[in-house]
Symmetry: C2
Subunit: 189 residues, 2 copies
């Protein structure tokens, strides 16, 4: 997606440790017109796919998922990173190791909001080592729903997650795949 790639080149900042900061437009401040274009592009990539629910994980996936859901006319469900006192006792559960925060989260989703009748599109801002996405895939499997694919805004193609998840037979559509990055240069696939 050319608009997104240009924005990453203009405003993305590469930091040591393979960190790409896009917090000026994607995951701290959010450029809503850009995210609308991202939502339209996901709709285009998954044209004709029978999606009944969009599933994401808190926190930075939620806004992208909500804007995208407008183009699919389906509800969003977001997995939560710790068990909230307000959540039902009937939960799907998995564990996710966070690259960014260097810790392991319990991730839960109420069983009421994903059933065997559902066709699920996963949405997230980043795909790097794939741990968050693997957690969502675990939850979909446990629910018995049909996984239709994953829409990712930025994939770090030099990390292992995309290959690993595509090898499982999951359709992954990443709007920008970065093959290499240094503080001076950034190459898209």
């Amino acid at each position: 997606m050319e608009l997104l790639k240009q924005r990453i080149l203009k405003d993305g900042i590469v930091r040591p440790g393979n960190v790409l900061k896009v917090d000026s437009f994607l995951n701290h401040q959010m450029d809503i017109p850009l995210i609308n274009e991202i939502g339209k592009e996901f709709r285009h990539r998954f044209e004709g796919v029978p999606v009944t629910r969009i599933l994401t994980i808190e926190a930075s996936g939620i806004g992208i998922a909500c804007i995208t859901a407008q183009y699919f006319n389906v509800p969003v469900v977001f997995a939560k990173k710790t068990q909230s006192l307000n959540l039902d006792s009937a939960l799907f559960r998995t564990k996710v190791q966070s690259f960014t925060h260097n810790r392991i989260y319990d991730v839960v989703l109420s069983k009421k909001y994903l059933t065997p009748d559902d066709h699920v599109l996963l949405i997230d801002d980043f795909l790097a080592n794939g741990n968050a996405l693997m957690g969502l895939i675990d939850i979909v499997k446990e629910s018995g729903a049909t996984l239709e694919g994953a829409g990712i805004v930025i994939e770090k193609g030099f990390q292992d997650g995309g290959r690993r998840i595509r090898n499982m037979g999951v359709r992954v559509e990443s709007l920008a795949i970065i093959d290499s990055m240094t503080e001076d240069s950034l190459t898209f696939r």
Copy 2:
């Protein structure tokens, strides 16, 4: 907002400890057409108010803020509940005690995304004791930006937050204010 009140009466579940579960449409599963109506109503309530940024706090405020921002044509910025390794060192910081999770969070926002030129609308799903909203108000004050008001989806009018924050001179627009609730009945103001 009548549509919202009807939905709370239909699908909200009251649990012991003054817990109102609205996770079937607002903060776990999200009914996007309803949230679009909520966004339009916030635009209507703050008609003519010069808003340059919508500020919310992760996680459940983010989707509502993003949908609402489409009607204001402004970016969303969301405060984060712990310091991420990816965030800039130049941060506004405050502490928020969570009623739901029974713990204290550090809440941070990059100084790049809120300046003295900004006019800020706060958006959140719930207002109860007001701790999360107070944290956001602290951040706005620290930034030197102008606080234009707060748009809240559901206010628990029998808790202290709304009164406390309105008494500070902050304009608070809550789309549904609950004056009392039990497992059998729920009364709006």
